[in-house]
Amino acid sequence: MMYTIETALKQELRDAEASALVKKAGTYFCIPVESARSVHLVTIEADLTNDDLVRLQKEIFTNPVTQISSLAPLDIAFDWCIWIGFRPGVKDNPGDTALEAAADLLGRPFRPDEGIYTSRRYCLKGADLSRQDVEKIAQELLSNPIIQRYKIFSRDQWDPGKGADVKPARVILDHTPCFDFIDIDSDQTLSQISDQRNLALNARDIPIIRNYFLDPDILAQRRKMGLSKPTDVELEYISQARSDHCNHNTFNGIFRYTDVLSGEKTIENSLFKTYIQQPTLALKEKKDWVVSVLWDNAGVGEFDEQNNYVVTGETHNSPSNMEAYGGAITGIVGVYRDPMGTGLGSRLFMGSFGFCVGDITYDGPLKPPLHPRRLLDGVVEGVKDGGNKSGVPTTFGQTLFDPGYMGKSLVFVTALGIMPKQVAGRPSHEKKTSPGDLIIMSGGRVGKDGIHGVTASSESYSENTPAGHVQIGDPYTQKKMHDFLLVCRDEGLIQFITDNGGGGLSSSIGESAMISNGCLVHLDRVPLKYEGLDMWEIWVSESQERMTIAVRPSDLDRFMALSDEHGVESTVIGEYTDSGKLHITYKEKTCAYVDMDLLDKGFPAWEFDAVWLPPETRGLFEPVIRAPKDFNALMTAMLARPNICSKEWIIRQYDHEVQGGSVIKPLVGVNRNIPSDASVTRPVLTSEKGLAFSQTLLPWYAKIDAYHMMTCTIDEAVRRLIAVGGSFSHIGGVDNFCWPNIAYDARTNPDGTFKAAQLVRACRALKDACVAYEIPLLSGKDSMYVDGHLEGAFGERVKVSALETVQFSATSVIGDVVRCQTLDPKAAGDYIYVAGITGNELGASEYYDMFGKTGRNVPQVNFAAGKILYKAVEKAIHLEIPASCHGVARGGMGVHLALMAMAGGLGMEIDLSQVPSDGQDLPDEVLLFSESAGRFILTLAPEQAPVFEKLCRGLAVRRVGTVTTENDSLKIKGIQGDTIVDLCGQTLADAFNKPFGDML
């Protein structure tokens, strides 16, 4: 039987969800919705008695104080009603929890053919609403066709008896699972099949694959198993293992680099080995705090005598471009599995985000899959639910805007965990699979999720075909698994653990079986969301919230008992062996049987031509802009720019202090609305130690030279750590590359060789910076195809590529958190110092960008000077000399003086003629807006001045002014001695807070 329970808030209560809809319809589309009410529908397909049904309605689905509900459609007046429901197979988290609660309350399990599904309808009132208006609201605010369906009812179309007439979104696959043999009689045949089946096999891999399967010895072995030609399961396994995602073919590729100006010609044999692995391993020898790098799901560093911390960063770009909420929540929940699968498993203690999107006010002809404004709303919401419901604080984050990101927006997510150095008498950062260990899959079930990524999104839909290729993360299921696995870890039940992400079981088992040198997997034992998946689909499905764990047979009963107590599903699906074979069966029939070392059989490296055109050869020059006259208006205009102004509306939605260890929050200052340099967290609540974390994105500098983009990005990340009290002797790094396509093609990618050269230069800079500042790279990832082909006004498709972007994350351990400092000046009368040299470096600055210019003088990092200065500032903060400290970043000193004044709620008097500069007499606008690296602004009590100046003797540190009272303004004297800026706190605050003010 089928029933639908409708629930709504009582009329007199504020319906926040509906109010938000009314507001957005008005502000986004000027659609005049007068009022709205939302109705939540729970559709139950099960054999229930009426008593059972009423019990569910009253006890679970109706709050007697706030809600009304009915088993028939609620009689709520409307001019138009929009119903929104998920497509079959899309993760319906409330539906799943409803099922769990109902089964518990009624004390009866639900059969596979029974289910509970949720949907919503919105009752809109508005005399002037047209059907087109309502269609627009349904399509561009409420639903996304790739995961949802909608129906629209006018008042007279509405049947009060039938209501929205909801059908259960149950997946029905009328299909008997099977596997195919693939023809390999010629390279052409295989490459055609590869295209047909979305195998994405690299043309140069195909002969190697054929040679293997045509080898007489191999054939003989396979015949014993009833196999001859390769199966689709086997080719999917190879395809996954050889994909750029799993194999990093770009960073392990061969680059032929040419500099057209100097004529330099170099062959780069592996950017990864040369610029990431080699320096990091060398630093590991020097720094005994570096515990484990470059092999596991995340890097491991020492936190204190008893504990290690774990860090990694990911991106989830393509899915977020198709379905922003689903992509982002899947991204953050997904990256949270990496620390859970690092070593024997760590406890998550913080996360962070980085959003790069197009202009959210864009109203041009190009049609991205989602408008940047809607995309940002979606990713903000996705990270909110994913992070908050995981019980992990989101302590840091940045949001960037640039037209290039309309082609493909970027969603960076970072995760940190903590684990005892020893668990059950073993080092927690080591793990291995051994013959005889059982292969267990824990967490979610397997469906057609994420198979072949978003390529599936072009498939057409029927009523019951799953739309699972776009996923929606389930933090609730994962949080249960997280708690469960930590108990297993501490009891010593885990021999090996890794997560199921890209490639699903194919990569998690494929890679972990390399250690024991073999495995036997029974795919028919893998628990499914619905019947009818083919073997290869079970093998490569990317269904979320799953971990693969190796458990000794003797520990199985205890493991399963704990799994049961925590309400987590765990299943033995095979065992690790030392047979040398990846052996997969389905109902005792072999469907894959290949050698574990197949992937070492001489697959060729990818090759790229990289041609570097230095800025002077690309017609880049400094723009000619005469000195501004109205610096007050200029300052407020800078503060109001999207990439500078307050993003408090985003940060506030993220729980940044759950777990009780918050020391330095993402927003600081008297009004708690100024972004801090870095966050500091106490992951071990009984300890006074803290972990400082910062993140930097400066993609604009890549318009001039990706080398300096990378060095400036790393320098700023380090500066941010030092500013809050971080230690220069312990800095860990995480590099996340997001690059447009670098494979040259005369027609589709004519500037591919230049972008390839930019990548080579960025990698060289990565090594130079990490060696200079002694930063081991604890983790890193790359996402290589950040381009989009957007339809324009005339049906043409324009390729829009993102800027070459690197997000660099940095960690440091703080011995005593009480010595940390924030950027807000604390007292009137304190002296203001600037540390570090300002040069004429406005290239690709926020200032030039305001005038639509790029210029050529990109900021360049002086590592030698930086190193000495950073150590001096670290010492000063350790001695508790400064009352505030702030690293100068995007927008330059003018912007960051204003941020400090606002944060302190105090005035400042500054004399630009005192600012340490590189000799040439720089004009006021350069001193105020140059983005030279390596600079701080500090304030301290006058009586501290002598000891501070002694500490900084010989360094580019000079007193530039004084902190004044809350009634005073920010006064800046220019080099001619005249006051060029005089702005009161309120004016600064208005400029800074206004742009997104109404979103709080």
Partner: protein, 274 residues
């Protein structure tokens, strides 16, 4: 001396159990983090404890109303045990998601000694979304609440999307009469916020941030006292520290109103039960 024993519920998406356990430990109690299923299965018995803590988090993802499914499950399996725990005069504290669970269980407000009726609700913030923000609270010095005895005011963070307290006028006046409104959102001078956002961050009627039952032994609040377990948790701590230093005063890291609240509960148990 025997120690007060506190049971902190875990599992099913709850997530503040570690810091809540630590707060009770620092307050001198013996903390036990116990999975809801272990209590339901009888592996751990409520009768062995003096304090029961319903902590923060997203139980069952907060789908179908924050704390609702948690309340239904507990009522369904250990409803009687909870009622006798209250009858014995032991202490129950519900924080954020735990407060939401307590009102859905009917353990709060417990008017007319009825600990099963749902007569108040905590619903969606007026601002329409989740908010993490530190708030000023003013405490009713005449409230029977055991946990806040001697407290006039406190700063704690709120972190919720559903924190708006609502109830019918007659229920509200009953709460006032019984001095059951323990905490109200306030300004920095401890005057009630009078609904002004963001001082009152969610639109709660009468700025209500926390209530207790008529006996003062069952207490629920939306703000997170356990998140103020160290002086560096406070958003203004670096400014406080600079000022203290300049006045030549010490800067004690564990002297916080958050821990004070837990100490009050533990001290009460020590006096009455140990």
């Amino acid at each position: 001396m025997r120690q007060a024993k506190a049971l902190i519920l875990t599992g099913f998406g709850l997530n503040c159990d570690n810091e809540t356990a630590l707060a009770f430990e620092l307050a001198g109690a013996q903390s036990h983090r116990v999975h809801i299923n272990a209590v339901i299965a009888g592996k751990v018995r409520l009768t062995d404890f003096h304090i029961l803590a319903f902590g923060g988090g997203f139980s069952w993802g907060d789908d179908h109303g924050a704390g609702v499914i948690q309340a239904v499950k507990l009522k369904n399996h250990i409803g009687e045990d909870l009622l006798s725990f209250v009858a014995e005069g032991k202490l129950i504290i519900g924080i954020c998601n735990g407060f939401q669970a307590l009102v859905n269980l009917g353990l709060l407000p417990g008017l007319d000694k009825d600990y099963t009726r749902r007569s108040v609700a905590i619903t969606y913030n007026d601002c329409g979304s989740f908010r993490d923000q530190w708030v000023h609270l003013t405490a009713d010095p005449k409230s029977p609440c055991v946990f806040t005895s001697g407290m006039q005011k406190a700063d704690f963070p709120i972190r919720h999307g559903e924190g708006k307290f609502i109830a019918d006028p007659d229920v509200l006046s009953a709460l006032q009469a019984g001095r059951q409104v323990v905490f109200q959102y306030a300004d920095e001078n401890a005057h009630p916020a009078e609904g002004v956002f963001p001082l009152n961050p969610n639109g709660s009627v009468q700025d209500i941030a926390g209530i207790c039952d008529p006996t003062g032994k069952v207490f629920g609040l939306m703000p997170h006292p356990e998140a103020y377990n160290h002086v560096t948790n406070h958003p203004d701590w670096t400014r406080h520290k600079v000022m203290q230093k300049r006045l030549g005063k010490p800067f004690d890291t564990r002297d916080t109103p958050g821990l004070q609240l837990f100490c009050n509960g533990v001290d009460y148990i020590r006096e009455r039960f140990l």
